[in-house]
Symmetry: C2
Subunit: 646 residues, 2 copies
Amino acid sequence: MGREDHRRVAIPPPQPFVKSLENTLKEIFFPDDPLRQFKNQPPRRKFILALQYLFPIIEWGPKYSLNFFKSDLIAGITIASLAIPQGISYAKLANLPPILGLYSSFVPPLIYAVFGSSKDLAVGTVAVGSLLTASMIGNVVNANENPKLYLHLAFTATFFTGLFEAALGIFRLGFIVDFLSHATIVGFMGGAATVVSLQQLKGILGLDHFTSATDVVSVMRSVFSQRHKWRWESAVLGSGFLFYLLLSRYFSKKKPKLFWISAMAPLTSVVLGSLLVYLTHAEKHGIQVIGYLRKGINPLSIMDLEFGSAYLTTAIKTGIVTGLIALAEGIAVGRSFAMYKNYNIDGNKEMIAFGMMNIAGSCTSCYLTSGPFSRSAVNFNAGCKTAVSNIVMAIAVMITLLLLTPLFHYTPLVVLSSIIIAAMLGLIDYEAAIHLWHIDKFDFLVCMSAYIGVVFTNIEIGLILAVGISLLRVLLFVARPRTLVLGNIPGSEIYRNVDQYPNTNNVPGVLVLEIDAPIYFANASYLRERISRWIDDQEDRLKSSGETSLQYVILDMSAVGNIDTSGIGMLEEIKKILDRRELKLALANPGAEVMKKMNKSKFIEKIGQEWIFLTVEEAVGACNFMLHTYKPKTATDESEMNSNNV
Amino acid sequence: MGREDHRRVAIPPPQPFVKSLENTLKEIFFPDDPLRQFKNQPPRRKFILALQYLFPIIEWGPKYSLNFFKSDLIAGITIASLAIPQGISYAKLANLPPILGLYSSFVPPLIYAVFGSSKDLAVGTVAVGSLLTASMIGNVVNANENPKLYLHLAFTATFFTGLFEAALGIFRLGFIVDFLSHATIVGFMGGAATVVSLQQLKGILGLDHFTSATDVVSVMRSVFSQRHKWRWESAVLGSGFLFYLLLSRYFSKKKPKLFWISAMAPLTSVVLGSLLVYLTHAEKHGIQVIGYLRKGINPLSIMDLEFGSAYLTTAIKTGIVTGLIALAEGIAVGRSFAMYKNYNIDGNKEMIAFGMMNIAGSCTSCYLTSGPFSRSAVNFNAGCKTAVSNIVMAIAVMITLLLLTPLFHYTPLVVLSSIIIAAMLGLIDYEAAIHLWHIDKFDFLVCMSAYIGVVFTNIEIGLILAVGISLLRVLLFVARPRTLVLGNIPGSEIYRNVDQYPNTNNVPGVLVLEIDAPIYFANASYLRERISRWIDDQEDRLKSSGETSLQYVILDMSAVGNIDTSGIGMLEEIKKILDRRELKLALANPGAEVMKKMNKSKFIEKIGQEWIFLTVEEAVGACNFMLHTYKPKTATDESEMNSNNV
């Protein structure tokens, strides 16, 4: 193949700076192009579309039918039966008055029904968020000594959760949640579930005092140092209900049609436990009960937000951390079910919905709410069709608040502990961890760091550890890109990695290297050293085997997505190093960004446009042509060749 | 082209976990393979090589010749003439006794000559490091009120600098320095130089009191609030010397042969200035002078290291920050000159050398030293051959310390300020900043954030800002990878990006997309949405133009270097989305890592091995074959086709 006829690698047409900035920003913040549907529409239609965009209920509401309502009614009642006992349990977990659990299942689901775009999400409080609230606010204010301040800080934190979530959505920063990888969430949730379950030993064993630390060592020390205070009555009752709850779950899993057994089990436990205590007066024999619950729906709490408090920073921090976790769970849950039912969820819109419901919640005596997996799964299995099931649940909870709260007076705390443990055991997804180990060891490492961090230190450290290690992986990918030697696949003109395709052939006198990442400041030095080492290795090998000595180095740039000034500097250095060694450098298939920057920095002139090829094949062809035509290579040939091509 | 004959994409042979971990760790920590030369050597030779590795002086020492010495002698004396006034000036900048500047040009160069591998680096104190020391330690201890503690903390910080640098080298973590990109350093150095120059207004205007803050607003306020105290004598003298220094630099730049004019100018200024003061008794008319300097070489300071101090954390923090900056400058300088002279510098070895010289320095009354650019450039221009020029400089400084210190008694401080300003103006590399703007806007942004951060807030914040933005770029590259539509280049079987090659042709019924980055948790959601959007766009386009409707989507995986479990999950979702839309998914050229993980996660079985192709060309060929053979597509055809190929 001659050298003159090779196709030129195109330099993309220059783009004005503002235009290119606009494109970049659009890809970062509007990758889903939300304004797409507004294009070429009359103003009236645009207005309706905008309303539908902001309030999805306007979109699906008019199409709502009686058949849908039948399904939603059943689903709503089912999740209400789960929401009431879980709400009370999780509020206890957050060291908040139990009634808050009910309040939080009333207002937020109504708000979500208006703003939310998921048809399957069931809104409610979450165990991990509750525990985080307890541990972060509990760090600065003791819930027993100063319950009022603690309560107000919980509202304030919820307000900031809402503000933070809505802001992420409005400013299209939803992708921050993507940095909590699946592996991180599996490990983090498993660790949190372990920690929460261990904390329930307090309830199961009927202990009064307990450590506020969440790590396994403190908890175990607290449990075993109080051995003389263990209450066997409590333990027997707790174990019994736990056994019942797990058994019902086991059957539901075996036959998905029987999901309602598992869904109803918590409420059944509460009813049975309360009856038992009422009939046997067990509350006087060491069984602690919930006690008095105020009748009536949510009181306003907007005046309780403590913006002037000395603990404002704690509230903000708690709000942001719990908000992030709540979003990660809620959005993942929403997306999974949307995937099943073949509809789309807009992450940023969901964040605004979550934010609205938490802001509204913080003003109406609710604390942190999200879309818990367990409740949403029950909703889905019960056949919900739209967010109306959330409205049904809210109404059911409202009726409970107005009329039925006295019934919970005798509910034993130990039953709540059993309900929490049963829910938590389902979150420890050891199968997912094994799956990670099989597919990707690094993901397993991330998952285990999150788990161990949460279990042995505390929830925040576990989370930071896992996110840190995940980011380290991304940085390491860029800092230590792979450089691959390519060889010719026999009987073709294709060049591929010799490790992946062991039967490839070397091209005599030519080293083909593929660089597998963008060339940035973080890897420029590394690449320079690594490429030099490849050349050394190759020359050693050729010398010892007596083959044609190395004359050309081809860098396959197909996988180099971008390059910065340090990267251009590195290429210039490589060029110098090769010149000194009397080797020729050729580039194959540099992309648009790379060509643009090599052009601006005049590197194309330095290397020579004729040494940049469209494919590795053409580059090898040109090198072979040169090798056979101008052998042995002399300075004259070289200059003559250059003059031919310029 | 038939479908059955296509070449299979290879799954790399499985590798034991330990082996693959070993390879990964080797690439991270030993990319330069430092043990390479030890292979296949007798034990005696290995021992000598190891000694030479640890003490490079053993390697070049025996080959040292008289000719080399002549060159090194001249270079050494030249840099000593620069080192003495600069040393005194920078020590004043660090709020330390001026004599420390001389001490620091005596011991550290000797240590570097033994451990260092650069032939051109001239060791000494650095302006930015001095300023950082003053600002970080000055934050907790006032140098005027408690000079002894301040001095001891400076030694302690230097000790930790050394420890940190040596540890980075020993644990092969030198790549951390790579995260300070060229753009960061340009901006940071420029900002620091601006700040340092402005601080010199104190000396130039002969002010007694001055702000310890470094930001431009505080400095300007401090200058202009004391307008009545400005000393015109001082200002005239300072401006005169500054003019002289800049003029001499200008001539040296025009004629590189005249480098010695610029190199000698600071010493000449000091001599002239001192004479002037001595003869006119200007010290009694508002010109401040250095005053008494103790005779004799470095006293030991090992007992002054304050490991028990309450300010230990400040010392450690100062040590680490200044160490990092000193390393970044020193190693960049060493590498640049090595590149000129065609020899290699091992970053990790250099770090150990820098660490040793700072540890030794901290025990012998020296503070932070590195390889300043200005001094090394003079060394290089003066024709140095080896590190012996550092030894010559050290001896010259020693003679000064033993005999000549009284001569500096009358040196006016204003001359030192002029020397500092002249040196700093050379560090403001506005041409580099313009270059960054032309080539890479993002690098320019990084550079400007560093500059503005340093000038308007403080040095540490500027640095953190720039590093943060640099890392953000790397994360953004992974979080928002580009997806490119490929088209066929006419008259070839090559498929390339349609934006870069506008004359490419679409393949009817087929969408070819290239993914430009590893598929990780951070971009999995984005890619899912972006790919869906490409398909929507394409279908809209085809519908409106009445072409063949879309039937196949080919993902070109050439540039996907790696994939994690979230990425596999994303591919599975894409497969489901395409199935629902009755589109077929094909993959082209997945790499070794990707194939390995798709195999382990059984994704290959889900998509079908026959839908994974070696090249885009083969994938398109197969799709075309199917389109023409099985048109119109029915369910029967589909299943028949599958049974043919499994």
